[in-house]
């Protein structure tokens, strides 16, 4: 069903069930966010995508990644109040992840260069403080790749993200989806000496080589794809165009 509403006074249309953030971005409105990706379930973790939504005469400031479009609402994507709230949220995130370059950059855009809040306690699971616990890696691993290698562990101050028992996750296929989707680039993904490494999870897998001896993907990952999609046994022997 088509839903009609306005964003910054512009009339827009979307399908019911769509999120406000995806619709707004489709129409070219710039809404910052760290924890959102349209391929996975919205989570509302980073709070950076705050907008002002007027519904039935009532105005409220809310995250728009997990707000479904509704007929007749008015969305304002930027105002002085929103700016102030986003700055506050970014200052808090900066305290959690002071080493994350993308966070620093976004915060600077909102006039936040130093956080007044304390750094996370030393001795927390991570050495570098660059993860904002947005859970995008976990959601991608669970919903898209479906290997469930990652999950949150602990709670509160000691919350972390990684494989079970804080070891290299054995079900990880080193596909790199988590590293690709991470908003703070804190996971780290390298290929060297015929090995693919996902640094944050400490996962290393040997890679399959093509006819010319160039490594192209981890054997375990290829095996997983073959099983999952029921591909023929010799699928990886053929050149890409002829499969």
């Amino acid at each position: 069903m088509t839903v009609k509403f306005t964003i910054n006074g512009v009339k827009v249309e979307a399908e019911s069930g769509d999120s406000v953030i995806d619709t707004a971005r489709r129409y070219g409105f710039d809404i910052p966010s760290l924890c959102h990706h349209q391929a996975v379930t919205p989570y509302g973790a980073c709070r950076v995508c705050l907008v002002e939504i007027t519904k039935g005469g009532r105005k409220k400031i809310t995250t728009c990644c997990n707000y479904e479009v509704l007929d007749g609402i008015d969305v304002v994507t930027d105002s002085e109040a929103i700016h102030k709230h986003r700055a506050m949220v970014l200052e808090l995130i900066l305290a959690e992840a002071p080493d994350a370059e993308p966070v620093k950059k976004l915060a600077a855009k909102y006039g936040v260069n130093v956080s007044r809040f304390e750094r996370p306690k030393a001795g927390a699971a991570q050495e570098r403080h660059d993860c904002i616990m947005c859970g995008l890696c976990v959601r991608v691993c669970t919903e898209i790749v479906e290997v469930n290698a990652l999950a949150f562990n602990g709670r509160g101050y000691n919350r972390g993200v990684g494989g079970p028992y804080l070891e290299a996750p054995q079900s990880c296929i080193a596909c790199g989806a988590c590293a690709w989707v991470c908003p703070t680039d804190c996971i780290g993904f390298v290929e060297e000496d015929g090995m693919r490494k996902v640094l944050k999870w400490d996962r290393e897998l040997p890679m399959e080589k093509d006819e010319d001896g160039r490594p192209f993907a981890p054997k375990f990952q290829l095996h997983y794809f073959k099983e999952k999609f029921g591909l023929p046994a010799d699928i990886y022997k053929k050149a890409p165009g002829t499969r």
């Binding site: 669970t142 469930n148 290698a149 999950a151 949150f152 562990n153 709670r155 079970p164 028992y165």
Partner: protein
Amino acid sequence: MDLTKVDAIIENYDGDATSLLAIMQDVQDQENYLPREAVNHISTKLDVPVSRIYSMATFFESFHLEPRGKHICTVCMGTACHVRGAQRLVEHLERELKVKSGGTTEDLQFTLEEVNCVGACALGPLVIIDGEYHGNVTSTRLTKAVKNLKTREGGE
């Protein structure tokens, strides 16, 4: 751990993955902690990823992934117990059992734990030994209780 016991527990809940938390609790009741092989077994049986079970087990304070002692001494550290000297009781038990608070003795006989309040403030200071609540405890009474447990173990 005997995995047939885990099977029986899972059977109790008709192998339903939504009862995961209850299953984990029941397994922990058997062993005083969640052995890794049991976690792996539950994971395969219920088709729930190990990562999720680990996530839940670390989220809730009441789950333990390291082996714990046969006897569990929990000292209430709530405000009422605290002002009546709960900290001294912890230190006393640490000396008595030769283990740091939160730890387990090497022979896997005793685990010493602290809890923030059990809601029996009128009885403070309070120590729970193997599920039995001891109100208005003194260090002398604790020594006796521990000695009793030790001799009972020795007599068996």
